[in-house]
Symmetry: none
Subunit: 197 residues, 4 copies
DNA sequence: GATGAATGAGTTTTCATTCAT
DNA sequence: AATGAATGAAAACTCATTCAT
């Protein structure tokens, strides 16, 4: 087996093991047993248990950075267009999150409360996320389809919280949820709230 | 020092230590140093490191269970009443969360990814939370101030996500945020969304 | 047992173990077995196997630095006085070396070819030794009882070599050698060489 | 590349690696990297890391055994002849030592404190050396150019110590020392000591 | 009750050696 | 002959928990 293939296999095994037991409860022994190789083989490919975890986290952050929903720049927008833009954006994100839900789960459930380095990485990750959401909302404001009296930074945080919760509740479930339905509900809530009964 | 006082002191020291370094990176030595007692003393009051952590988590869950915003049951409501009800509810919750933010932080940042038992406890906690939010929204629907076409369970999850995010972003900050302003923004978003620019 | 007594006991056990098997072949297990304590106890007193070795080496170097043969400063000297001075000096050194021969043996047989730090320490040690010998010979030259045409630095090195060899051959033996006889021979050789048969 | 050439190349690489880092700190990986071959190749030529080291030590001991300064057997000698004989002897030895100083350094700095086998080899080596020096001094005594009242065995040890020290101090230096000057000083010291100022 | 030295099972990590290609 | 990925026994080190004082 080639060096790269073995490395990939070990990463996959590590991910499975970490998801099963969490970072601390997972021993290198568990990872290599999962991969079906000897203890030493692990250390041919990674410096330490921490290192393999770090690679997985980096990979997840990269997955996130690669999600770039594109949207058109119409001069005149209607509220319906705004909903379409949000829907596209959410759809893209949730699709990617579903695709990489195992990595994502590791990030959300394990990379929290770990050694120094991760805190900074995660902070940067959230800042980037905030940036993107902020940009989208400001864009909608500019085009007159979002209210001007909202605090964009505040709302950006709310949106992040919403997507995180959705991810935990629906994407970490066993079977694939109806993403379209999720997105519709999401957009409806974000555009109109619950009021107006 | 009385047995209870010593126990309380150790709990406080443990909380401080866990918040500083996280569950795994915190050693019993750190806790007793923080409390200024000898190592053996710790075991006179708690069975294990795990046990003291468990008490802290239980205490936090209890804090949450004790938060019971009461609201009146008018037969006829206006949208303004709905906003008031939500505001009261959020205000109560955020006030309690701020009050116990250190315990809460432990819950959010450390009780994740720990041994089996906690996962179940947390799940129950979220179920309870969901129940309450669900009840509030259904109440508003019943009284005609919330739309009927929303998926109440889905929205309940969104609301939980929102509050979690707000908690992490604003309540874990160093100085006390303007809770009234936070609540106003929250309610506005929940009632009307961002649309209607 | 007090902390200090335990530490001393472990140092003694480590010295015995290192002398028996050498640094690398000696495992922490051997040291603690020698001391009759558990593995963890070792680490209560020393950070690592390397650390305990380092303490022993430092202790040996200190023993050497503490050897300070004093000699009078007569204005007029005879060759006989010179011999007496050298004899006193050698006697003092060999006495100290015999006293601490186990530590010394560790230094000569193990601290050579070990990690970075020791090389520098040893170099400093030899420089100091050279300094002392050089000073003694120059003193004898000044007082007219040693020839002026010798290279004092060179001879200082020879003397160091001589003492090292004597140490290895006679002091590391099982029973105490006749130090007086050794010293007499040493002085005779240093003063007159082997010539003049 | 022929089998012998490859073996020689590996020996050379091993020597370089051992001198750089010492026996234990040098890994087979370092040796094969130095030689520019794969790890497995090493084991085609040597049974173990220990074996290659052993070959190098044997080779050094052989170098020493091959040093056989010859000297004439004049019936009547003068002190000057004795000096010439000693000078010739030292010159031959130091020349050979300089020639093979890298191997020699390995012997002096690494073959100490290693597994059982080496201790015995080294002991035999020193015994042989002692024999030779002893023989030379006794020869000079017999011919009336060395004093009769010296302990020949003792002096032989001193001479060995002197040569060892000279070797460490001057031959392991970067540039070639003036061997003739060294030898002159050596002989002067051995024949006359430092006395007679 | 309090102390803190002692314990030892449990983990990570290393690296000489093997062997299928 | 050469390769280099794989092996796994062997070691160092950690730290929650115990217990004699």
């Amino acid at each position: 087996m080639s060096k790269d293939a073995r490395r990939e296999q070990l990463l996959e095994a590590a991910l499975a093991a970490f998801l099963r037991g969490g970072y601390h409860a997972t021993h290198v022994e568990d990872i290599v047993k999962e991969a079906g190789v000897a203890r030493g083989t692990f250390y041919l490919h990674f410096d330490s248990k921490h290192a393999v975890f770090s690679v997985l986290v980096d990979r997840m952050l990269q997955v996130f950075l690669d999600v770039r929903p594109e949207f058109p720049e119409p001069d005149v927008m209607k509220s319906k267009d705004a909903a379409a833009i949000l829907a596209h954006s959410y759809r893209t994100i949730l699709e990617a999150f579903w695709q990489h839900r195992r990595l994502l789960r590791l990030l959300l459930e394990e990379a929290v409360g770990l050694e120094k380095g991760f805190a900074k990485k995660l902070e940067a990750h959230y800042r980037e996320w905030h940036e993107r959401v902020h940009h989208t909302i400001a864009y909608l404001q500019d085009r007159g389809v979002a209210r001007k009296d909202i605090d964009v930074h505040f709302v950006a945080e709310l949106v992040i919280g919403i997507v995180e919760r959705i991810t935990r509740t629906y994407l970490f479930a066993r079977k694939k949820p109806d993403l379209d339905a999720l997105v519709d509900q999401l957009v409806a809530f974000e555009m109109r709230g619950i009021g107006g009964g």
